[in-house]
């Protein structure tokens, strides 16, 4: 089917982008002042010791050779060995991945829970009291930086009324859920503002479509018109917005994981940058890039699956 063919083409187009991202991150981390060998030695620094460490890490070789080695390790899935932690980068990623995915999934869930009813209701009753008050929510959610919102939530639900954990990840499924409620809501609120906006305008646009009049004049219940003809169709364009922003959420997790001390990939990245742990930084950037790409492809696939016009091409 032509729609799926399109996905294949997208995939091919995205390969150079991913390679580009690895090059940029590879170069950037080396431009940042600070030398891994110096940081590893700390108080025991001697020029000789540093030179020896650099040699053993392969940092004395040319950048091209280093990049080649990085690519080779990426293909094997190990991404090389961390400088500061005694583990392969692949292992570190698989250890932090669970928490990050859990966080993203919960943030996505709260976003849908929050924005679908609000966006649909505001759109259906455009200009009404609810729609007007939604604007205030949108403004606050949009203007507030994510970490600030996180701090506010910590103060309210962790300190003033201590009902929820404010740091860590816990052990066991239910504990994970409890630990991730505040951080995922912190991520979900700004994300929701984007989605409410697009869902609301999409609903308003769809409501005036001719096929909605056709459906209404069949004499079917209004609820059915709303679900099968307005929300169903308005949702198609919003799925794309959701997917694109879910990918952006990966960036958000880096900050939020540090605010809430969650041992995920975001915390791993921040630590790796501060210790100039080159293999970890490189491996994670590549991994994040692939993740964003995967989410985008999934979004395309969902879009094709729910719009029969695309599937047929």
């Amino acid at each position: 089917m032509a729609g799926w063919h399109l996905i294949g083409r997208r995939l091919v187009q995205l390969i150079p982008i991913v390679v580009g991202i690895t090059i940029v991150s590879f170069v950037l981390i080396r431009i940042v002042p600070g030398d891994p060998a110096t940081l590893i030695l700390g108080n025991h620094y001697t020029p000789e010791g540093a030179a020896q460490i650099r040699k053993s890490l392969g940092l004395d070789q040319s950048v091209i050779v280093q990049y080649g080695r990085f690519l080779r390790s990426a293909l094997t899935g190990s991404f090389g060995h961390s400088y500061s932690l005694d583990a392969s980068v692949g292992h570190l990623i698989s250890r932090g991945l669970g928490a990050t995915l859990f966080l993203i999934a919960m943030a996505g869930f709260f976003t849908a829970l929050l924005s679908i009813p609000i966006g649909v209701f505001a759109g259906l009753h455009r200009g009404g009291i609810f729609d007007q008050s939604t604007r205030v929510f949108l403004l606050i959610g949009f203007a507030l930086p994510g970490f600030l919102l996180g701090v506010v939530l910590i103060l309210v639900f962790g300190v003033k009324v201590p009902i929820l954990p404010i740091n860590g990840y816990g052990t066991g499924f239910l504990s994970h859920v409890r630990h991730l409620i505040l951080p995922s809501i912190t991520l979900a609120i700004p994300f929701s503002t984007v989605l409410v906006r697009s869902l609301r305008s999409s609903v308003i646009e769809t409501m005036s479509a001719d096929y909605v009049t056709t459906a209404l004049l069949k004499g079917i219940p209004w609820r059915r018109v709303v679900l099968r003809h307005i929300v169903r169709n308005a949702g198609m364009s919003v799925v794309v917005v959701f997917g694109v922003n879910l990918a952006f959420l990966v960036g958000g997790t880096v900050v939020i994981e540090n605010v809430f001390s969650i041992p995920g990939l975001g915390s791993l990245l921040v630590n790796a940058v501060s210790t100039r742990d080159y293999p970890v930084v490189q491996g994670l950037t590549l991994f994040f890039a692939l993740f964003v790409l995967l989410v985008n492809l999934l979004t395309d696939a969902v879009h094709i699956a729910i719009d029969p016009r695309l599937a047929a091409g």
Binding site: R126, G127, A209, D210, Y211, T213, T214, A215, L216, L217, K218, G219, I220, P221, W222, R224, R228, H229, R232, N233, M236, I306, D307, P308, R309, A312
Partner: protein, 363 residues
């Protein structure tokens, strides 16, 4: 029983619809009154933007925008005696599809692109019945073959984008018929279609109207189509009905200068070697309308008093008794008619309608 005694199935009384816009209020329906009788075909003719669609939708209780306001009443005597314009979505639900249905102007955008043809017809079948799933399916197939969709068992699995414009319009007719309505409002059902398909769809509609004994409002901007099919005709200009008469009287003795001008612009109205008449000037924009007759800027019989005249539909006496006209000079005017140029017997296929539509564009 005489014609006038026949049951009225729909009555519009002094209906006005106004939409607030940044440029000022738009009035697409301005004091429209009409009656639709049991089993008749009422034509409504008017150029683009004269308010035909907004009028049709108001007959079903729909407003063009949530901010639109309305005055006047629409009733379905004996069925809905309250004002249809005020009943609301909830109250109208059991009449839509069941008592009154509409066939839209643009079939290409009037079916939901994400649902299968069969499911969309089935939704209309299920709206007013308690049939089982299997019964509904066979009713869908029956409706599809009734409106002339070939191999319905197969095509009901298609999506709208796999259908041609004509097939989509047939689907929409099937949807309209699903609840056996008594009143059908067809808003320019063929304007968006190819010429050859237009005739097929019109014949289908007339066929169905006769078979099922429905009352039909048929909107068109093509007077020659109306002339062949309709029992009575309403002429719209600038949101108003300017003349309402039986087809024969309208064609033989038009009372309004606009109707007379329309007739003269019909192909066949003048000998072949003469150019068709056109009406100079543009139709009014319906924003911030001044009082007085809407046709003042284009009327060849205009007098200064016309611009002050508070318009009303006036019953006509004499030879054209039974007509209603919105012209203060109609009694004194001897409007000329094209000499027997138009056939108005109801056999669509006989008359050549491939000529241009009524030439009433800005000249």
């Amino acid at each position: 029983m005489t014609e006038c005694d026949r049951n009225v199935v729909l009555r519009a009384d002094d209906v006005c619809v106004q939409i607030p816009t940044p440029a000022g209020p738009v009035t697409p329906v301005d004091h429209v009154s009409l009656e639709l009788r049991q089993g008749e075909v009422l034509g409504i003719v008017g150029e683009t933007g004269s308010g035909k669609t907004v009028t049709c939708r108001s007959l079903l209780g729909l407003m063009p925008s949530p901010r639109a306001t309305h005055t006047g009443t629409v009733t379905y005597p004996g069925v809905v005696d309250d004002n249809v314009l005020a009943v609301g979505r909830k109250g109208m639900r059991r009449h839509w599809g069941n008592y009154i249905a509409m066939i839209p102007q643009n079939p290409m955008t009037s079916l939901n692109p994400v649902h299968r043809i069969g499911a969309q017809i089935e939704e209309a079948v299920a709206a007013h019945s308690t049939m089982s799933r299997a019964e509904r399916r066979s009713r869908v197939v029956e409706l599809m073959s009734r409106v002339g969709i070939p191999v319905p068992e197969k095509r009901l699995r298609d999506f709208p984008h796999q259908f041609s414009g004509g097939m989509l319009q047939r689907t929409l007719i099937a949807i309209a018929l699903a609840g056996n309505p008594q009143v059908l409002v067809a808003d320019e059902p063929t304007t968006a279609l190819d010429v050859i398909i237009q005739d097929q769809i019109l014949s289908l509609l007339i066929d169905l109207q006769r078979d099922l004994g429905m009352s039909l409002i048929l909107v068109s901007h093509d007077l020659s189509v109306i002339a062949q099919i309709c029992d009575r005709v309403g002429v719209m200009y600038g949101g108003q009905l300017v003349e309402l008469a039986s087809t024969e009287r309208l064609l033989r003795r038009p009372q309004h200068p606009y109707t007379a001008a329309l007739l003269k612009s019909l192909p066949g109205a003048v000998p072949r070697n003469e150019p068709l008449a056109t009406i100079t000037g543009a139709p009014p924009r319906l924003v911030n309308l001044p009082p007085g007759c809407r046709f003042v800027p284009r009327c060849s019989h205009v007098e200064p008093a016309c611009a002050e005249w508070e318009t009303e539909l006036i019953p006509v006496g004499g030879a054209a008794r039974g007509s209603l006209v919105r012209c203060r000079r109609h009694a004194e005017l001897e409007l000329s008619t094209p000499a027997d140029g138009i056939s108005y017997d109801a056999t669509p296929a006989e008359t050549d309608r491939s000529g241009p539509i009524v030439g009433v564009h800005a000249g």
